[in-house]
């Protein structure tokens, strides 16, 4: 059994089979060969070994001609390892006697050797890289053009990867993914957001561990504690099974409050809305009793396919959500991606610092045809229900005005063509840079609502890349600087009489609910999974008490102190609720 500590980014516990995605994206599931096919599979294995050997010989000869005998020796050694009789015997036995799929036999067997080498504490440990090279070549030759993708998963798995790219997560078949664990990443990273959206546990920033696991092995993922447990023993499995059952009981209890309003004990009604990525999540929000969609992220429309989505692609997705919400508000956020995720398509040069680069509204304003396509679809959807549009990452008044101008222009265009839309569709902006907070008293006059995106606000305020595990601990929602920016934003919005919302992970964490209500927030937008819990906390507190908590937290010097205090306050609240 191997217990690995990572960063917990999406709660829940799951037990399942591992699906390992290595840096080349190969996934090697545990699969078996039918007895009658063993000879065919053995021949396929032999063929792949032959092909791999020929590749190595070609490489060796090319290197020898170019750099000389000494460098060619590396490939000579690879060849010798590939032809190692013991290895060959082991591979054949795995296929013939255990009926393993050759891909699986290769991956398992070679990784075992690589692990032995890695454990050595002298220069021989470098040979592990050679073994991985051999594994990759063999797999490439075995899989050929049939290289499998995440989209082809057909049974429940826990995805283990070095780092998941947005396009990988966007295309995977969500019905079969029970959880994620990645070597890289921090809180707020892409994997974290997707996992939360899918309501499956996720642990990121685990550090290197993929060499220790093979596809098909049992894995426990503890998204509450941030643990990944490889090769768990019976006792541990039993303990986690119990935990799973207990969690299901709690979930059943929370369901009971689905149809009750999010109203405090002193009668203040809180608007509790959901954050979604995929249209299908609208149903999840409704099933938990939400007041609408407070943040509909539209990036997946852009990431799920290689080509730019058409107006109809956009419209179909938006219409599904708006119709499901049946009159409840739906806030659609325009594209909030960095050029780093799209430069291949948009022909934009690579950026040195994507977080501070051409992204979000900046990108939309530079790619007007793309932006107009999205706005047209949003406007068309506005004829179907209470649709509101929101612009991300506004940091200057010019951006806001430009975006509104494009919107007005698109409206005229639709009107000319006699296409129905809501001319009074509310327009809002995200507050997620310190600049937006400082200037909010000006911006607020030109918007119908604001939504504070805490993830980016924290990142830009504290100057922390939340995906960098070396500094991820500095990324802290409890930091007093963040709390002050929140207070200022909510104060400005209240004075102007403009509705304000908080989306981002902070609003979904019950630790912050009392603080946020105390700061004057009356709208929370949270991941669907957090709706029942946040609602329960809302229903068990009074705004008067929350104000005291907020005052006290804002008087504190450091994040640690604030965190301890808020935790303690939550614990008391829950203890009372149970009693």
């Amino acid at each position: 059994m191997l217990k690995l500590q990572g960063i917990a980014v999406s709660p829940g516990v799951t037990i399942g089979e591992a699906l390992v995605l290595d840096s080349e994206g190969f996934r090697i599931p545990r699969r078996f060969v039918e007895r009658s096919a063993v000879d065919t599979e053995l021949a396929r294995l032999a063929h792949a070994i032959g092909e791999t050997a020929r590749e190595m010989e070609r490489n060796r000869d090319a290197i020898r001609a170019e750099l000389g005998e000494q460098y060619a020796a590396i490939f000579e050694a690879h060849l010798a390892m590939l032809h190692d009789e013991k290895l060959q015997r082991e591979l054949q036995t795995a296929v013939r006697d255990r009926n393993w799929w050759p891909e699986y036999a290769v991956s398992r067997t070679l990784r075992r050797y690589a692990k032995v080498f890695q454990s050595l504490d002298n220069h021989i440990s470098q040979r592990a890289h050679d073994i991985y090279d051999i594994e990759k070549s063999l797999l490439r030759n075995l899989l050929g053009q049939r290289r499998e993708t995440l989209a082809a998963i057909s049974q429940p798995v826990i995805v283990l990867a070095h780092n998941l790219t947005p396009s990988e997560t966007a295309t995977l078949d969500r019905r079969f993914v029970k959880g994620f664990a990645t070597e890289l990443g921090g809180p707020g990273s892409h994997t974290a957001i997707v996992a939360e959206g899918l309501e499956i546990p996720a642990v990121v920033g685990v550090g290197p561990f993929l060499a220790d696991v093979s596809g098909g092995e049992p894995v426990i993922l503890d998204g509450n504690q941030g643990l990944v447990i490889l090769q768990p023993d019976e006792e541990t499995i039993a303990r986690y099974r119990q935990e799973l059952e207990a969690a299901q009981t709690v979930a059943a209890q929370l369901k009971e409050i689905r149809d009750l309003p999010a109203e405090t004990t002193d009668g203040v009604r809180i608007q509790l809305t959901g954050n979604i990525e995929f249209p299908s999540e609208a149903e999840q929000c409704l099933a938990r009793g939400c007041d609408g969609i407070g943040l509909y992220r539209t990036e997946f429309l852009y990431l799920a396919s290689r080509t730019e989505p058409t107006e109809d692609d956009h419209y179909a997705a938006y219409a599904e959500v708006v119709q499901a919400m049946a009159g409840r508000p739906v806030v659609i956020r325009t594209l909030d991606l960095g050029a780093d995720k799209m430069h291949a398509r948009l022909n934009i040069e690579e950026e040195r610092n994507p977080c501070l680069g051409l992204r979000s509204i900046r990108l939309s304003l530079r790619q007007l045809p793309m932006f107009r396509t999205q706005l047209r679809a949003i406007l068309r959807a506005s004829a179907l229900g209470d649709v509101r549009v929101m612009f991300p990452l506004i940091s200057t008044i010019v951006e806001l005005r430009q975006a509104r101008m494009v919107l007005a222009d698109v409206m005229e265009d639709l009107a000319e063509h006699g296409i129905a839309f809501n001319r009074k569709m509310p327009v809002g902006m995200m507050v997620e840079t310190p600049a937006a907070v400082m200037m909010l008293d000006i911006f607020i006059k030109e918007v119908d609502f604001v939504s504070i995106g805490t993830n980016d606000l924290i990142q830009y305020t504290l100057a922390v890349d939340r995906g960098n595990k070396d500094v991820a601990d500095l990324y802290n929602a409890c930091d007093p600087a963040v709390l002050r920016l929140l207070r200022r934003s909510l104060d400005v919005a209240r004075e102007a009489g403009v509705p304000a919302n908080v989306c981002g992970q902070m609003s979904g964490s019950v630790m912050f609910t009392q603080l946020l209500l105390g700061l004057g927030l009356r709208q929370l937008s949270v991941p669907p999974s957090a709706i029942p819990e946040v609602k329960q906390v809302c229903r068990s507190v009074s705004v008067a008490e929350c104000r005291l908590i907020a005052e006290k937290a804002l008087a504190m010097d450091g994040a640690r102190e604030v965190k301890a205090y808020l935790r303690d306050q939550l614990r008391r609240r829950l203890a009372q609720a149970v009693a």
């Binding site: 000494q70 050694a77 010798a80 050797y113 032995v116 040979r127």
Partner: protein, 104 residues
């Protein structure tokens, strides 16, 4: 080779020292395994904590034998004596450390 001989099977041993400066890394391990495979006898290398198949480069590498390591070569089979002679020679010649493979 695995115990196929019923008579005259003998196990002979010889102590060797890894004398080449890089230890038993990929190239010497490859040479050793190649040499071992020329013989019918079973060849094993015995280190401080483990015993490995001398005909497998992967196994030999797992010994992680650095310069100065003492090993015992064990040969079992009809040509054990000749095998030990040849393998011992490799160690003595430091696996032709400085390139220039000698034609034998």
């Amino acid at each position: 080779m695995n115990g196929a001989d019923t008579v005259g099977v003998q196990t002979l041993t010889r102590e060797v020292v890894v004398a080449n400066s890089q230890g038993l890394h990929a190239r010497p391990a490859d040479m050793l395994a190649r040499e071992a495979r020329k013989w019918q006898s079973r060849i094993e290398l015995v280190g401080e904590a483990q015993r490995v198949d001398g005909k497998s480069i992967l196994d030999v590498l797992t010994l992680a034998a650095e310069a100065g390591t003492r090993l015992v070569v064990e040969a079992t089979g009809p040509d054990a004596r000749e095998a030990l002679e040849a393998i011992g020679g490799l160690f003595e010649r430091k696996f032709n450390e400085h390139g220039t493979e000698q034609a034998s």
